[in-house]
């Protein structure tokens, strides 16, 4: 018997698989087709202070070995998430969930985190700092160590739950930003969010996405995600939730060898609704094949070689 369990800031997860925010909704669609309690945990759809409809359609474009999305953080707002979504979720998911929080100002981040802090169902708060900062010319909070640290501090001040800062890969030096978050008190780092990309409709001769650009994810980005997890692992000592293009149990192992303690699966859930289930079920065999007895043994393993 191999041991797939991991420990994430005190949470014991039976396996490291965490469906990524925005690709698993609030879990119901998947709960209809399999028992989602097999998951390590999952990160719910990015939630903001106010309800948001998001961007106009089209919001999706296909790419080679990946996809672009420009959902624009559609969500019912933190209050409704707490009053409606979490109670419904409780009926299908009995484990601690990861709350993914977004905002356009420090106040919004703090507001949401303070509210979610009181929810027993929430095990970890994952703070997405890829959103544009409306008070500072629209650059994303995640593009400078200073603003990333500022969000971390604002959030840490209002919650006692573990806080994972979710970093944008659209930066020159992601390890520097991770270090700033650690220094500011983050309990862990999630990476990577999507890479900004675009496609053009050749017939209409204009961008496919109504929003012009969108976020690239899927297998295409796996090598970039691995490199960034590698760099962040070298720089910080807090745990990493690694993601970006993970689609198989082998990808999970590769991500953990690069330095991830847990692994999120995003676009793969959209391509195949059973992807996370399949990964979890094939993980023990993949481990045996590679002579891995205990998954936690390999975290960052490729750094020692």
């Amino acid at each position: 018997m191999v041991d797939t369990s991991i420990n994430l800031s005190g949470l014991h997860l039976s396996n490291p698989i965490i469906p990524a925010s925005g690709t698993f909704g609030f879990g119901y669609e998947f709960a209809e087709i399999y028992d989602i309690n097999i998951l390590g945990s999952f990160s719910f759809k990015g939630t903001t202070k106010e309800p948001r409809f998001g961007n106009a359609a089209p919001r999706i474009a296909e790419t080679h070995a990946g996809m672009l999305n420009a959902i624009g953080l559609q969500n019912p707002g933190i209050d409704k998430v707490i009053s409606e979504e979490l109670p419904k979720l409780k009926q299908v998911f009995s484990k601690p969930v990861i709350a993914n929080i977004s905002g356009f100002s420090l106040e919004e981040y703090a507001y949401c985190c303070e509210k979610i802090d009181k929810e027993e169902q929430v095990g970890i708060i994952e703070v997405n700092i890829s959103c544009p900062n409306v008070h500072e010319g629209g650059m994303s909070f995640g593009t400078s160590p200073e603003s990333a640290a500022a969000v971390t501090k604002a959030v840490k001040a209002v919650t006692s739950k573990p806080v994972y800062m979710k970093l944008s890969p659209n930066v020159t030096d992601i390890a520097e930003i991770a270090a700033a978050c650690e220094e500011a008190g983050a309990d862990g780092i999630s990476l990577i969010n999507t890479l900004t990309g675009m496609r053009i409709d050749l017939k209409r001769k204009k961008p496919i996405l109504n929003n012009v650009t969108g976020g690239l994810s899927g297998p295409a980005v796996l090598p970039i995600a691995l490199r960034m997890v590698w760099e962040v692992y070298k720089k910080v000592s807090i745990p990493i939730i690694g993601m970006g293009g993970v689609s198989t149990a082998e990808d999970v192992i590769e991500m953990m060898l690069a330095g991830a303690t847990a692994v999120s699966v995003g676009a793969a859930n959209l391509k195949d609704p059973f992807a996370s289930k399949n990964i979890i079920e094939s993980l023990p065999d993949a481990m045996k094949e590679l002579g891995i007895k205990k998954l936690t043994d390999i975290i960052g393993g490729a750094h020692n070689a």
Binding site: E29, I60, E62, N69, N269, K271, P273
Partner: protein, 245 residues
């Protein structure tokens, strides 16, 4: 929703750039006309959504137009090829609302789901009218198939090469009068024109680019008068009264 493998049992050219594909497999998840399937294609990251045109216990028929690389790939498939498909997606049309004399209005690649609907309505003993719009005679398909169901079929072509010259809405004005309900599927400009012309209530089926096709990603969401709806889940069929253009 169900994920399963299907075998191509037929794939024939029906009209210009238009193919009919019959899939053999477990169709148990298909419940209503107007639902769609989501097809995984080798070498393409996203699936392709195609309406169910007809189904029986062990088969699903689809009609698709080759508009890009994915549908061109589908056109190259042969009998015996296997496809991994999600079935039973979308809300579908509600035949109960039709009244006695429903009018079905379809344009081009929007026509297929109306076929299964027409079949259902005929089974329910309604007097069914269908206006099927095309650009040219070369594009026309399924006119006889609708007719053999007992549907009163009116063909329109933009260039007048067959049937009434003009748009589907021209036929609505001239050929029809006392229809009790409208069911429509086709390109968005057509849907809008039908919406504006229709004197009855109705259901309209929409298309949107999809990530998942089963409600997880919000990729297909659109605004309605009753809030945001996912075309893949609370759609593709919307009620006339809720549509926001």
């Amino acid at each position: 929703m169900k994920k399963s493998f299907f075998t191509v049992a037929g794939n024939r050219l029906l009209a210009e750039n238009t193919y009919e594909m019959v899939l053999r497999g477990d169709s148990s998840a298909v419940k209503k006309p107007g639902q769609f399937v989501h097809i995984a294609l080798d070498g393409f990251y996203l699936r392709r959504p195609i309406s169910v045109c007809d189904w029986s216990e062990h088969s699903i028929t689809m009609i698709y137009k080759t508009v890009g690389k994915g549908t061109a790939y589908m056109a190259g498939l042969e009998e015996g090829d296997r496809l991994e498909v999600l079935t039973g997606l979308g809300n579908g049309f509600d035949s109960k609302k039709s009244g006695n004399k429903p009018l079905l209005i379809g344009g081009g690649a929007g026509i297929p789901p109306l076929y299964a609907l027409a079949k259902k309505l005929m089974q329910e003993q309604k007097q069914v009218f269908a206006i099927l719009g095309f650009n040219r005679v070369d594009e026309v398909f399924y006119a006889e198939e609708f007719a053999s169901l007992g549907v009163n079929v009116i063909i329109t072509t933009v260039d007048g090469s067959v049937g009434r010259k003009g748009f589907v809405t021209d036929a609505m004005e001239i050929d029809m009068a006392d229809y009790t309900y409208t069911y429509s599927c086709g390109p968005e400009p057509m849907l809008k024109a039908v919406y504006e012309k229709a004197v009855s209530d109705g259901q309209y089926s929409f298309e949107e680019r999809m990530g998942c096709g089963f409600g997880a990603c919000m990729g297909c969401a659109c605004q309605t008068k009753y809030g945001s709806k996912r075309i893949c889940r609370e759609g593709p069929v919307l009620e006339k009264e809720e549509i926001v253009w």
